[in-house]
């Protein structure tokens, strides 16, 4: 700031130069005054963009409704943890629990869980069951809600800046493109954390509170880290891809359309291909044990996830989250992980290019 602009020098506004009625000015009209107080740290600039992005998204009534809905499934999964912990001390609860166990992914731990229930030694399987519940929470309700929440928040984030040519306002300030991009992504992360990470951590805490003793913490200490890992898997590629769509158009509805199209088309394409392969019996199947409506055990053959999984972003994310929660090995999700990393990097690269483009001409 210049020396001359320092200090609380008060002068009449320019308007008063032209009018001879200074009383027409508001009482708070102090004219132009210099400003030379303490500045906030420079690394906080992204936070300004994030906070504005969060506030603007919050104005959407649909988003607020979705956030309420996003926490409702936590009640169901909380009940699951409650039942499991009750079963540890009560044989009746164990019989009640057994049918649900058949719904778990058929892994090497599956038999162990069933045996643990039958032998009333539930402590040994607590980690697996909790991990399975948390994974299911991430997969079925939260991933679907994530698609909807991001579909509401992300499309206007950059496209409206393109339409209103706001880049000149941003980048004529001491703000880098990376800070701008990070600020936008972080506003998406805030909501994604609100619907996935926080409820999952709340579920974990609920489990701790319902458990018979604090030794449970020792057995499940890694689950909060896995929750954070699964959240990152959910947030990084999806937010990057959503912002990429937003940066490709100045019409946010097109970005929203592209976002939902990718998920829906990916899902249905994967299902169609899987069904076709199953009909031709060329795909490996696994048995899913259930109880039917009459309480009789039944087995459904489900095609194992294959290379075609990668057609569907939903299933690709799910595969990597399975690895995060320890249900599959890393080798099994190598391609899925590589695809997610590639999508994330490509999306960020395209977005960065798009926000730089208006400055180059």
């Amino acid at each position: 700031m210049t020396e001359s602009s320092k200090g609380p020098t008060t002068v009449l506004s320019a308007r008063s130069d032209l009018t001879s009625v200074p009383s027409s000015r508001g009482v708070n009209n102090l004219g132009y005054r210099g400003w030379s107080d303490q500045l906030v740290p420079g690394w906080m600039r992204w936070w300004v963009i994030t906070s504005v992005g969060v506030r603007r998204a919050w104005q959407s009534r649909w988003l607020r409704r979705m956030l309420v809905c996003a926490w409702l499934p936590a009640i169901w999964f909380g009940a699951g943890i409650f039942v499991w912990e009750q079963a540890a001390n009560n044989a009746g609860w164990r019989q009640f629990l057994l049918p649900f166990i058949y719904g778990m992914p058929r892994t090497s731990e599956w038999d162990g869980i069933r045996d643990a229930i039958q032998s009333a030694n539930l402590d040994s399987s607590r980690h697996t069951v909790w991990a399975w519940l948390l994974l299911s929470f991430f997969r079925c309700p939260q991933a679907v809600l994530m698609v909807m929440v991001v579909g509401v928040i992300a499309p206007p984030l950059i496209s409206q800046d393109i339409r209103s040519r706001a880049f000149l306002l941003y980048f004529s300030r001491p703000l880098t493109r990376a800070e701008y991009l990070f600020g936008k992504v972080a506003s998406l992360w805030a909501y994604l954390a609100l619907i996935s990470t926080l409820p999952a951590l709340a579920l974990y805490l609920l489990g701790i509170l319902l458990s018979p003793n604090l030794s449970v913490v020792y057995a499940t200490w890694d689950l909060p880290l896995r929750i954070l890992g699964a959240s990152l898997v959910l947030m990084l590629p999806t937010s990057a891809m959503a912002l990429c769509f937003s940066s490709l158009t100045h019409e946010s509805r097109y970005a929203g359309f592209a976002w939902f199209a990718v998920w829906i088309l990916g899902w249905f394409t994967y299902l169609a291909v899987s069904a076709a392969l199953a009909i031709n019996a060329s795909q490996e199947m696994y048995a899913s044990h259930h109880y039917d409506h009459y309480g009789q055990p039944t087995v459904t053959m489900i095609p194992k996830e294959s290379a075609w999984t990668h057609l569907s972003p939903y299933h690709t994310l799910g595969r990597v989250q399975q690895w995060v929660f320890g249900f599959v090995t890393f080798n099994e999700v190598l391609i899925s992980t590589a695809i997610l990393i590639a999508v994330t990097l490509a999306s960020l690269g395209i977005t960065y290019h798009r926000i730089s483009a208006p400055m180059r001409v």
């Binding site: 400003w35 409206q160 040519r165 000149l168 306002l169």
Partner: protein, 309 residues
């Protein structure tokens, strides 16, 4: 005096098109008008100053900060008012100004207080609580100006600050700019097509044409005619007066609008004009030393720029 803006042989190419061609320029404090026809390179020059585009060759400094290397420092000390209609969607006027103040690192509460203060200064009263999309062209212009000055930068780059304003608002805007330069020591680079605006408030003028600096000097220096002369307007018949002046051996030119231009030093000519007018029985309506108008300066510069290619 150290130049606020010091450019040395700046060249900027967009592919095959050369937008800035070997531009060397020193701009000092006060208000400097940046003029040029469409496509002259004014906007590119501003983008170069803000570090928004990389120069092809050359170097420069703004407030002592090196262009291209210290862009953050430069942008922190420059208030830029873009010509384009750019705004932040879905925000009210006061939120927009607060937001850009925060981007310039003002604390949130202070940014809000300052936003209100600056919007008062810029004449946006209750409109500040309306979303920007509902603003008229003039309101948006004032909002952009408020955004440019909210962080109290020492240098202002104003791109067409008066376009879209009605005559009264235009004068008010010019007064604001004049006040900031005069009372608060702001250095202002005023980029505009409206020559009277530049003439009324600028100390210096830079004229660009085809990417080159054609003219860069103080307005006083540029306004001085090549030959000293005096412009005279009379009340009544001028024929006898013209004859009387010629008899005194003074060169005289008749202008189409009835004015007369007497060639010579104004101080020496003035007594002779009074004597001749008295002798011929005509009244002297006005008598002023001749000055080059900015329009003439501009047209000459652009013509020279065009013919040199």
């Amino acid at each position: 005096m150290t130049a606020l803006i010091d450019l040395v042989e700046i060249t900027k190419d967009y592919g095959r098109f050369r937008a800035l061609d070997d531009v060397s320029l020193k701009i000092e404090s006060g208000i400097t008008g940046l003029l040029g026809p469409n496509g002259a390179g004014k906007t590119t020059l501003i983008k170069v100053l803000l570090g928004l585009v990389k120069v092809t060759s050359g170097s420069g400094r703004l407030l002592g900060f090196e262009l291209g290397r210290q862009n953050r420092e430069i942008r922190a000390n420059v208030g830029y008012m873009p010509e384009d209609d750019c705004y932040l969607h879905g925000m009210t006027g006061v939120e927009c100004v607060q937001f850009v103040a925060q981007l310039s690192r003002l604390p949130a509460v202070e940014a809000l207080r300052r936003a209100h203060e600056i919007l008062d200064f810029c004449g946006l009263a209750q409109e500040r609580y309306r979303t920007v999309e509902t603003y008229s062209t003039g309101m948006r212009q004032k909002l952009r100006f408020a955004q440019a000055i909210v962080h109290d930068p020492p240098v202002l780059i104003l791109d067409e600050p008066t376009s879209g304003l009605d005559p009264e608002e235009r004068q008010v805007m010019l007064n604001r700019i004049r006040l900031l330069a005069r009372d608060h020591g702001k250095a202002v680079l005023l980029c505009t097509h409206i020559l009277p605006d530049v003439q009324s408030i600028s100390n210096a003028v830079v004229i660009l044409a085809r990417g080159k600096v054609q003219v860069a000097d103080t307005l006083a220096e540029l306004s001085r005619p090549a030959k000293p002369s005096l412009e005279v307007r009379l009340l009544g018949e001028s024929d006898r007066f013209v004859e009387a002046i010629r008899k005194r051996g003074i060169g005289i030119e008749l202008r189409t609008h009835g004015g007369l231009v007497l060639v010579g030093a104004p101080d020496q000519l003035a007594p002779q004009v009074w004597q001749a007018a008295s002798a011929c029985g005509v009244g002297v309506r006005s008598m002023t030393p001749s000055r080059n108008s900015l329009e003439e300066i501009f047209l000459n510069a652009v013509r020279v720029g065009g013919s040199s290619d």
